[in-house]
Each structure stands twice: as structure tokens, then as C-alpha cells.
Amino acid sequence: MNHAAIRDRLTELEKQRKLEKLLAKDDAGLSWADMAWLLQIPAFCGVAIHVVRIGLAASGGQEPPAEDLAWALLLALIAVVLHRGWPMFRTRAERLGHRLRRAGVVVPAAIVQVNHAHFADDNREWHPGSILLSFDPLAAAHPQRLSDAAQRIFALRELDRRTLPAEQVVLAWDLYHSMWPVKSSPVPAELCDGLRDCVLATVMLPPEPLEDGGALAALALPRDLSPDAVRVLPGEVC
């Protein structure tokens, strides 16, 4: 399955509202945006009840009072605002997740480091790890170059950071301290065998990541280094 086909499948899953659950390790809890979406139901009920009451009163030949009409308009306005505006209640992370699912690019990725437990035969857990991904079209055609680069970058972890060029110090430090999630770091092309637009990112790795042509398939937002802008796709998506 090529990357374009995977992207189409993701779009289909997103339309079915299944993708968010597949990409997230755990439930984020109560979302204000979901609650605002739910509140549109009672809001429209309130409008309907009020309109029926006005209609019943008018059927007796009476003109509805102006304040009843204004009240109906106000209730309708609240209902429409909730109906159209509930996404405004999304947190920054929720907005980013939404953008990633809708506009994320499927790119090849290679594991740089991950907890040993990830490779256990009976592993069913998501584990934190670091991956190298590339937006360069060449990377999809030459996954081995990406995986070799991942190994070279992993080796930085054990080098004295005082002796490294500035752009490699950040990579070495991120791998060494091993804490996550942290901002992704751009990787210089010379460390990636000439592949351009490479990024070192911390992610949660699904127990069975989706593999495509010898590399992992990741969903990422170009030019966005925030930690939530990259996800490794689990095998279940295809």
C-alpha cells in the first residue's frame, strides 16, 4: 500500500470518526468541545418548544408579543452558535490533533530508540520512543537510507556533547535524557545520507506499527515541530 492509498484510508477513517481513537494511546478525558457539541441538542429542543408555544398562542388569533419573538431569536442564536462554533472549544492539542488527522502527510520513519519491551513477542502496549522521519520523497524510495541514518543518529547519544557541532548537540541530548514528549528536532541532511527535511521526533509507538516498503508509516505535519504533530500509524488503520 503506497502512502497516497494510506492517506485515503485515513481520510475515510476520519470521516467515520474512528481515526482519533486508533491514533491515541489513551483517552484524553472530558473535552469541553464535545460537551459544547452535546449542548446544541437541548438548545434546539428549547427553540422548538418555544416556537411551538408561540404557534399555539398564535392559533388563538393572537399576535405573538414582540418579546416572545425576540426570545425565540435569542434561543435560536445560542443553538446556532453551539452548532457551528463548538470546535472553538477545542484545546490547542485537540486542534492540532484534528489538523494532523485531516491534513497530516504520510511519511516513512525509522526507529532511533525505543524501550526494549516494544520488541517482546507478547507486546500489546504502546511504548515511548524516538523516530527519524523524512518528508523527502526520496526517503520512501530508499527506506534503507533512513534506517541507516537512524542508527547513525542513535550513536550520537553516547558521544561527548561538548565535542559535537551545535545542531547535533540537541539531537544527542534529546536521545540521552530520553524524556518525552518533547519538541521534534530538525536533522541536518549530512546526518541523513543526503535526505532532506528529516526530523527526530518523540512518539508513542503502537505494539504493531504499520510498515510500508521497509519503513514505518508515520503521519506528520510538515514544518510543525510540536510533539503532537507526529504519530506512528498502527497496523489497524489498514
Binding site: 478525558g29 472530558l30 460537551m35 452535546l38 449542548l39 441538542i41 437541548p42 438548545a43 429542543c45 428549547g46 427553540v47 422548538a48 418548544i49 418555544h50 408555544r53 426570545w71 434561543l75 445560542i78 443553538a79 547519544r157 553516547e158 558521544l159 561527548d160 556533547r161 561538548r162 548537540v169 541530548w173 540521552y176 535524557h177 530520553s178 524524556m179 518525552w180 514528549p181 518533547v182 519538541k183 510533539p227
Partner: protein, 267 residues
């Protein structure tokens, strides 16, 4: 930014300096990325699972009241509607009191926290927990950013005080009450993460901290060393402001230092 530190000896001045630098950088990573789960999470610091659940209930209550108000608005513009409308913000205020203030207090501690080594002088198993090996600990620390000199002072003061508590050395008269208090205190409520200044005879500027050591925060889930690393708010000695750090915060170098000072060995 230094070399990878896997083993650091207590006598290696340069190694210790690099280790404390590295630990400060690790704390900076946590702060810069607001990845508070490395310090215990939010609001677990000062809240409790019960408080978090109460917060969720109040949030649901707020939404339910708004929903009721929206439906009621179809029938009436009377007191029932305004009553419901007034109750909704009250529920949000109650949610903040039950939950939000714990979040703020926790984040305040995490933002100010520094990582320091502590020398354990006494430990007792928490008798209220049968299944888990949870230790209540009294330890000496210096509430300032550590350096090799302050580290040595903490170790020396800890060793001296531990010898007194274990009756291996004579207890000077002015310290008798303190030593007795450390030795006899087994009330779990006292190990609340608070600190008190120690008499100058033990060491100027040093403090005694009492806190709980949850096994999940220890390298092998067992307290085997007399050296631990904790994070604390230097400006606040109140309960909850000293907490055990997890290994990724003090690094392999810190782990090697702890491993080199087993509890069983007499300091």
C-alpha cells in the same frame, strides 16, 4: 552540555559537577516542555484522585444544568430558568475550588523545583500498607542547587546523624531531643514531605526532610541505598514540597552514586 554519565564516584569532583549540571538540564527539559508527569503529574501533586473525580462530576453537573436551562428556556423566562442559569457558574467556581487550586499549587511547585541529593538517616516501613514496601524516611539535605561541596556536607552530616540515631556514636546533649524524635517517629502522618532546619551543630544551612518513598519511583522498586534524589521548592518547607524524584530525572550517573552507598553498609 557534557559527556554521557554512566558511573560517577562520590570522590570525583569533576564528575559530580557534571552530574549536577546534567540534572539541572533534565529539570529544565521538564519545565520547558511542561511534561509534568516526570514529576508526578498534575494535579496528583497536591490533589487526590478523589478531588479530580469531584472536578469531573462538577464539570458534568455544569453541562447538565446548562442543558436543563436551555430546555427550560423554551417554556419560561421565570425564576426556574434564572435559578438554573445562576447555578451553572457556581458549579464552575466549585470545580475550581475542588480541582483547579490543586492544579495551580502543583504546577507552582514543579516550576520552582530543584533536584537535590538527600542522605537518609532513618527509615521505617509504613505499617498501614501491608502489600507494598513503602518507607517513611527522615533525611538530611541542603535546600540549594547542589555542588560537590554541598553534596559532601550532606553526606557527612547524614552519616553523623545516622550514627547517633543508631546509637553507634555518642549523642551530644543539645541534639538528644532531635535524635530521639527521628528514631521514635513512626506516625505515617508526619512523613508529609515537609522540612525543618537542622541545628548548626549538624551543619549550617542543612535541613531534615520527612517524606514517603513510593517503591515505583526507585530503580528496582526497592529502597536499598542511603542516598536518594528528591525535588523540592527551596522557598517552601510546608508539607508536600519534598518529593522523591524518579530515576530519569537524576540519570544513570545519579543511580550509580546511589548504588555505591547501600543502606546496609554503615556510613
Amino acid at each position: 552540555m557534557g559527556p554521557p554519565l554512566h558511573v560517577v564516584a562520590a570522590t570525583d569532583e569533576a564528575g559530580l559537577r557534571l552530574l549536577f549540571q546534567e540534572q539541572r538540564a533534565r529539570m529544565a527539559v521538564v519545565r520547558d516542555h511542561a511534561i509534568w508527569h516526570w514529576l508526578g503529574g498534575v494535579p496528583q501533586g497536591f490533589g487526590s484522585p478523589k478531588a479530580a473525580l469531584r472536578g469531573v462530576h462538577l464539570q458534568l453537573g455544569f453541562v447538565a444544568v446548562i442543558a436543563v436551562a436551555l430546555v427550560v428556556a423554551g417554556f419560561t423566562r421565570g425564576p426556574v430558568l434564572w435559578g438554573a442559569a445562576a447555578l451553572a457558574p457556581l458549579l464552575l467556581v466549585a470545580r475550581d475550588l475542588a480541582f483547579g487550586r490543586h492544579v495551580r499549587a502543583t504546577v507552582r511547585l514543579y516550576r520552582r523545583a530543584i533536584l537535590v541529593p538527600v542522605s537518609i538517616v532513618h527509615r521505617s516501613l509504613d505499617s498501614t500498607l501491608d502489600d507494598l514496601e513503602v518507607w517513611n524516611v527522615s533525611a538530611v539535605l541542603s535546600p540549594l542547587a547542589p555542588d560537590p561541596a554541598s553534596f559532601r556536607r550532606v553526606l557527612e552530616a547524614g552519616a553523623r546523624l545516622r550514627a547517633m540515631v543508631e546509637r553507634r556514636s555518642e549523642v551530644p546533649g543539645p541534639l538528644a531531643d532531635l535524635v530521639d524524635a527521628i528514631k521514635s517517629d513512626i506516625d505515617p502522618a508526619h512523613f508529609c514531605g515537609s522540612r525543618v532546619p537542622l541545628p548548626e551543630a549538624i551543619g549550617a544551612g542543612l535541613e531534615l526532610a520527612r517524606f514517603v518513598v513510593p517503591p515505583r519511583l526507585l530503580p528496582d522498586e526497592r529502597l536499598t541505598s542511603r542516598l536518594l534524589f528528591v525535588f523540592l521548592d527551596p522557598g517552601n518547607r510546608a508539607p508536600g514540597h519534598v518529593r522523591v524524584a524518579q530515576p530519569l530525572l537524576y540519570g544513570e550517573g545519579g543511580e550509580s552514586l546511589s548504588a555505591a552507598m547501600p543502606w546496609e553498609a554503615k556510613p
